[in-house]
Each structure stands twice: as structure tokens, then as C-alpha cells.
């Protein structure tokens, strides 16, 4: 087991400002199984994570946390390549797989792998080349995955998969983003799925997963240019969706019926132009742009996070304005909010960091 240091940063309200994090306190902690810097990745949580506690894995040397990242334990050897998914309702049931570049002529995709012992051992799933797992529910045995053919549905917890996709997305759009909507009724989970065309047009759909045998998709909720990142939260006030795009953050507070684009404070990491109408300025191409990760804080109304090509940003007013969180640099690729542990976990291309959340 390789022991590495993960920096913990205290996130607190600015005493005199507008509430954005400003008082920072880095607290190094030792993670018994996490490996160093660039090789660390946080797996997606299961849907039920918010209800039953925070189950997290890091890959590299596989490590597991059952308390939202407060403590870690070794879990096994490095898992198979690709995306790692943890089952909601069974922290030891895992899927790992990768989807190849779909337009390549001869991609030789790897098989999906499955583990029932928390990653100690893995078994290939026959007949599943190029299946990237997206989500898994132990109770209903529902699993979702993406292949070059589209969105795949397994009804036996990922043990078998159809070759043809479920007719949930519009043809011609590849699965390019996915997020479980946190806070939905565990008996009727829901998710957001993003599809992107060959020319970079993206469409967002909401998936109703109440009937594992017959998932249903909404009409397209929004259309935008380029890829994106997704987050969804259900509460007594309805469903709130957040989409990170090249031009800013799209926010819907009414389940996708209406949307507002928010870019204030994100000017240095997003595009100033509509790329569908003309060339992207060279300067913006060179510096990079995009929001590869977004998150909604279920513990504090209106607090949103945007993981960008250069650092983490936070909004305390539901996305009206954004401010950079000091101390987190590089491309943020994943954000996990762990309410029970009261902390945020941020994966970048440089490290994984934890930020205790101010109440």
C-alpha cells in the first residue's frame, strides 16, 4: 500500500465579504491507501450515497472510504482501466470499463469488468467490449452503461448487457455526460444524461429509472455547444439541474423547464463567443476553456461548485456569480460533496484534495 498525503482545506465563510470562501486552512492528512497525486481518481458515488453514507473509492492502489473520505482502507490492486462505478446499496459491488474513441477505425475496446468484493478481485463480463459503466443500483439490479452504440441498460447488475442501446436518446448523439440526480426517492431514482453529436452539439435528457425494466427519457431539456458536465439535486422545492459548458454554467431550478446561463466570475475559464457563429479566438483556444465538473451542495441552499480548466469556483447565490476557491489549481475533473462527512472532495489533474464544508 502506498501512503500519500492528501491536503485538506477548510472552507469557511468570509467574515466581512459576501460569504465566499476566504479563510483557508490547509490540514495535511494521511490516507492509508491513496496513491500519489496524478494517479488518484475518485469513483462516482452510488445513488443512495446521500442516504446511507458516503462510499468512495480512489483508484491507482485501490482504496475505499465508507465515511465520505474521512478514513480510508486498502481495497485491492489497481482496477481495470476506465471509469469505476460503485453500486448504490452495496459498497462492495463495482464495475469498471472504458469506451474507446468511437470514430477510430479499429479501437480494440477492452471488456467491462465486475467485482463483488470491493475490488479485491475482478472478472471480465463476456460480450461487453467498449462498455463504460455509468451507474449501478444493487437493490433493483439496474445498471447503465455507454458504448459507441449509445446508452445501454442492464437489468442484472451488469452481468449481461444488450448489444443495442435503449431508445432513450436521439440517434446520432453519443453519451458524453451522466449524473445521478441526488436526493430522489430511492425507489424511483432518476438521472441526467448528455449526448453530443459529431459536430459538438449537446442535448440533455432526464431519465426516469423507477421501472428498471423500462427506463424512460424526457424530451431534450436543453441544447448547447460543446461537451459538458452535469449535476442534479432533488429536494422539496423540486429538481435543480446544473450543467457546466464551454460558455458558462447552465442552471435550471425547475427541473429543466427553464434555464439561465451564468458566467459572471468565470470569464477566464469560459468562452466569450458563440462558437456556432464563427471562429473561437486564438487566445481562448490557447488558454483552454471548459467546466469538466459541477456539483450542488445539498447542505446549503444556493451553494454550487464548478470545476474548471483552471481551478475550483464556488457560487453562493445559486449561480449568479462565481468566485475562485484558492488553493486548488489545475483541471478539476471531479467534485464529490459528502454531506455526512461535511467535506468536499476535488479531483484535479494534479491531486485529490478535501475541503471541509462550512455549514
Amino acid at each position: 500500500v502506498v501512503v500519500a498525503t492528501v491536503a485538506a482545506i477548510v472552507l469557511a465563510d468570509h467574515p466581512a465579504g459576501h460569504g465566499v470562501a476566504a479563510a483557508w486552512q490547509a490540514t495535511p492528512i494521511a490516507s492509508p491507501a491513496a496513491v500519489g497525486s496524478n494517479d488518484v481518481q475518485i469513483a462516482a458515488r452510488g445513488l443512495a450515497a446521500a442516504q446511507e453514507g458516503e462510499v468512495l473509492y480512489t483508484t491507482g492502489g485501490l482504496a475505499r472510504s465508507l465515511d465520505g473520505g474521512a478514513t480510508w482502507e486498502p481495497a485491492g490492486p489497481p482496477p481495470p482501466p476506465g471509469r469505476l462505478v460503485v453500486a448504490a446499496g452495496d459498497p462492495l459491488l463495482l464495475l469498471a470499463g472504458a469506451r474507446p474513441p468511437c470514430a477510430r477505425g479499429d479501437p480494440y475496446p477492452p471488456l467491462l469488468h465486475r467485482s463483488t468484493d470491493g475490488g479485491a478481485t475482478w472478472a471480465p463480463v463476456a460480450g461487453t467490449p467498449g462498455v463504460e459503466p455509468l451507474a449501478l443500483w444493487a437493490d433493483t439490479q439496474l445498471a447503465l452503461g455507454a458504448s459507441c452504440a449509445g446508452l445501454l441498460v442492464s437489468t442484472d447488475a451488469g452481468q449481461t448487457w444488450p448489444e443495442q442501446p435503449a431508445p432513450l436518446m436521439e440517434p446520432g448523439f453519443d453519451v458524453s455526460g451522466f449524473a445521478v440526480i441526488i436526493g430522489t426517492d430511492p425507489a424511483a431514482p432518476a438521472a441526467l444524461v448528455l449526448g453530443t453529436s459529431e459536430g459538438g452539439t449537446s442535448q440533455l435528457w432526464r431519465l426516469d429509472l423507477a421501472d428498471p425494466g423500462q427506463p424512460a427519457a424526457s424530451e431534450a431539456l436543453t441544447v448547447f455547444w460543446g461537451g459538458g458536465s452535469l449535476a442534479g439535486l432533488a429536494s422539496g422545492q423540486g429538481e435543480r439541474f446544473v450543467v457546466g459548458t464551454a460558455n458558462g454554467v447552465l442552471i435550471s431550478a425547475d427541473g429543466g423547464a427553464t434555464w439561465a446561463l451564468s458566467r459572471t466570475g468565470l470569464e477566464e475559464v469560459t468562452l466569450s463567443v458563440d462558437p456556432t457563429q464563427g471562429p473561437i479566438p486564438d487566445a481562448e483556444l490557447q488558454r483552454g476553456f471548459g467546466i469538466p465538473a459541477v456539483a450542488i451542495d445539498p447542505t446549503r441552499d444556493g451553494r454550487l461548485f464548478a470545476g474548471t480548466v483552471d481551478g475550483l469556483y464556488v457560487s453562493l447565490d445559486g449561480g449568479g456569480a462565481w468566485e475562485r476557491v484558492p488553493g486548488i489549481d489545475g483541471i478539476v475533473s471531479r467534485i464529490v460533496v459528502s454531506p455526512d462527512a461535511g467535506q468536499l472532495l476535488v479531483e484535479t489533474d494534479r491531486a485529490v484534495q478535501t475541503l471541509p464544508l462550512a455549514p
Binding site: 477505425g105 452504440a149 440517434p171 446520432g172 451522466f178 459538438g200 452539439t201 455547444w225 462558437p275 483556444l285
Partner: protein
């Protein structure tokens, strides 16, 4: 000059317009009338005269209104007993086994393809004129043709029918200037540097042997920006492929984009494989894969190259047309796509009067993305597929203009 039994009907252009072809079927109450335009296209893509195919249809089943074709709704203008394309299923009938196709287009395509299939008797025996074809098609010994004057009566009826409806005899002006077709004017140089796109492989020298049509499901400039979008640090910083799909420069690339309204051509990659400043040589863009259940010209092209999947992106030009699948494409767009297609077909040495067929091969120079990945990609979608005949017609005109 009237047509006769030695008139060539394979490896020639059409002697009947698609409109007249459709009108004849419609006027005679043929059940194939609904798919007439696509049927005409399916026949001509194999360089078979659609007037000859129509004459066979007339002789076999009175244009689908009589006999096994009508009784069992086989969608088979040729009343074929086997399938050469792989389409259709053999069914048992009171007349023996016959192929039943899912559509008339499939039936027309099989009728035409069997005449040019290099693994089949017509091609192998050089039967390209009316009499030799019919002598094989309807031999005297056919037990189900008892009472019919085969093949003499059959040949006579075919020739008579064709002379009744011929609208334009084939006049082939032999090309003398192959290699003279220019690239279309006004191509916007938007070659994407390696820094901004990692979606290519160096698979060796690119040699263009076909064009593949795509649909962007987006705008031409939007695709331009998408293909050059990369994280900070450039394409070398692209994440592994998968759901984190933020940057298009990490996911795909094609050679050209054509605006479906204005016809503006953007060039993103060089199909010749030539190096440019900041651009590596022989970039085979991740454009026309994945190879999955290929069919039609895609399948034939792969089979002809021993299933070497590298040919898909190395040996074909990829052309992305802007717009959604259901958006119409303008004449300007057709002109641009045809001009690009004509240039590369000419560079490959295809004479205008043979196009879109690749000489000596069973397949066409013009292909659709979906022909390499059936069931995965509907690309380029119905509108482009329906207008491919018009693109081919214009391509031939451009080639003829410069080759003769």
C-alpha cells in the same frame, strides 16, 4: 438508333430519367411506385441501366402486379431465387423458393448488384448486353417457365419495352483528361494543428479511394471550434476517452466540413497526408469508424482490402455536412460536396462515365458513414442519403467537364 439485343446495359449510364421511371410505375399501378426514386438510385449506383431493370420487372411480374411477386409481396423486381447482397429471406412458394426482400429498394439493389458482382456468373462471363444476360437470367430449361418463349420471347419483350420508353441513349464521351479536375475554389484553410487535436493516427501514406459523407448535427463553424477544443496544455493533455467529454479535439476529426446552406468548405485535415506547419504528415482522422456490422459499399470496400480496418480512416476522405439529419441541403452544398468528390475520384483515376463505380470493383466511390457502422450511427441521415443521387449526378457533370 434503336436499342437491340446486343445493347450494353451494364457499365453504362441510365437510359431513363428517374422521373420517367417513377411515372411508368405509378401509371401502371405498380406497388413499387412508392420507392421508385430510391430504386432508380439503387440500380444506377451499380452502373446498370434502370430501363433494362424496369424491362425485366415488366417481363417477370407485370411490374409487381402478377405472379409470385404480387401473391407473396416479395418486393423482388427480378423474381430472384437467391440473394447476392445478403438482403432478404428465401421463402417457399407454390412456384418454388423465392427471395422476399424487406423493401423494393433492396430488391432493385439485388437485381443490379448480381449483374456486377465479381464473384457471380454475369461479371465472370462478361455478360453486359441484353441477350447474354437474359440467356442466363431466363434459360430455356427453367421448369417454371413452361409455356413461355424463353429466352427468345423474353429478350424480344425486353428490347421492345426499352425502345418504347428510352429517353436518352447512352453517349459516352471517352475521358481524355483524367487528373484535370481541380479542387473547388474557395476552400477555407482551417487545418487544425496537432496541438489542438489528438484524434488521428499515422497509419502510413494516405491514398484516397473513396469519399464518406457525414452529418454534423451542428453548424460548420461550431464543428470547427469543437474539433480544435482541447484542455490547457493542448491535445497531449486530453483525458482518456469516456464520459468526461468536454473537448472535441480529444474525440473526433474529419477532413472537410461543408455548410448545408451556403456550401462553404472548411478544411480541417489534409487527405493527401502532406505535412504542414504544426501538423504531422499522414494524419488519418478518427472520422468514419467504428467498424461494426458494415454493409453495402462499406462492407465491400473492407472485404476488398482484406478487412484491414485502417482503410476506413486512412484511404477515404471524410466530409461533414452541417445541419441536423432532417435539415434540407442546398444546391450550393450539393455543388461543394460534388466538387470535392469529383476531385478525389479524378485523382484516383475514375473516368466520369463510370462514376460512382470504382472500376474493376463491386462497390462505389461514394459511401455513407453508416455503411461502416450499421446500428451505431444513422449518419449521414435520411436527407443526405436521399440527395446522394443528386450529389452523384453533379459529380459526374463536374468530372465530365474536366475529363473530356
Amino acid at each position: 438508333m434503336p436499342l437491340h439485343e446486343q445493347t450494353q446495359v451494364v457499365g453504362v449510364g441510365p437510359r431513363i430519367t428517374r422521373e420517367r421511371f417513377a411515372q411508368i410505375l405509378s401509371d401502371r399501378g405498380s406497388p413499387a411506385a412508392m420507392e421508385a426514386t430510391a430504386g432508380w438510385q439503387a440500380i444506377t449506383q451499380h452502373q446498370v441501366d434502370p430501363l433494362f431493370a424496369l424491362a425485366i420487372f415488366k417481363q417477370e411480374s407485370q411490374l409487381g402486379t402478377q405472379g409470385v411477386c404480387a401473391i407473396h409481396q416479395t418486393h423482388s423486381p427480378g423474381n430472384t431465387r437467391t440473394s447476392r447482397t445478403g438482403d432478404g429471406q428465401v421463402i417457399a412458394t407454390e412456384f418454388g423458393p423465392f427471395v422476399k426482400y424487406a423493401s423494393w429498394v433492396q430488391g432493385w439493389r439485388d437485381l443490379a448488384f448480381r449483374l456486377v458482382d465479381p464473384t457471380y456468373v454475369y461479371f465472370q462471363e462478361g455478360r453486359t448486353t441484353i441477350r447474354p444476360i437474359i440467356e442466363r437470367w431466363a434459360p430455356a430449361w427453367d421448369p417454371t417457365a413452361a409455356g413461355f418463349d424463353q429466352p427468345e420471347g423474353y429478350i424480344r419483350n425486353v428490347v421492345d419495352f426499352m425502345n418504347q420508353f428510352v429517353t436518352d441513349d447512352v453517349v459516352v464521351v471517352e475521358p481524355t483528361g483524367i487528373g484535370n479536375v481541380p479542387l473547388p475554389a474557395g476552400i477555407v484553410n482551417r487545418l487544425i494543428p496537432d496541438f489542438n487535436n489528438r484524434c488521428w493516427d499515422n497509419l502510413g501514406q494516405r491514398t484516397i479511394k473513396g469519399v464518406v459523407y457525414h452529418r454534423q448535427l451542428g453548424s460548420n463553424w461550431g464543428t470547427d471550434g469543437y474539433f480544435r477544443s482541447v484542455p490547457p496544455g493542448g491535445s497531449s493533455a486530453c483525458p482518456e476517452p469516456g464520459t468526461q467529454w468536454v473537448w472535441g479535439g480529444c474525440n473526433g476529426l474529419t477532413d472537410y466540413g461543408v455548410d448545408h446552406v451556403t456550401g462553404e468548405i472548411l478544411q480541417w485535415n489534409d487527405p493527401t497526408g502532406k505535412a504542414h506547419p504544426g501538423i504531422s504528415p499522414n494524419r488519418s482522422a478518427w472520422a468514419s469508424g467504428p467498424v461494426h456490422n458494415p454493409y453495402g459499399d462499406g462492407l465491400a470496400f473492407l472485404e476488398d482490402h482484406g478487412w484491414d480496418r485502417n482503410v476506413v480512416n486512412r484511404d477515404q476522405v471524410s466530409i461533414e455536412i452541417s445541419g441536423l439529419y432532417e435539415n434540407s441541403i442546398s444546391d450550393a452544398c450539393i455543388e461543394s460536396v460534388a466538387a470535392l468528390s469529383a476531385y478525389y475520384a479524378d485523382q484516383f483515376g475514375i473516368p466520369w462515365h463510370v462514376y460512382p463505380k470504382v472500376p474493376g470493383k463491386s462497390y462505389n466511390f461514394t459511401r455513407w458513414h453508416q455503411e461502416f457502422c450499421d446500428g451505431i450511427k444513422p449518419c449521414p441521415g435520411t436527407v443526405v442519403m436521399e440527395r446522394t443521387g443528386d450529389i452523384i449526378d453533379r459529380t459526374i457533370e463536374i468530372m465530365k467537364e474536366h475529363q473530356t
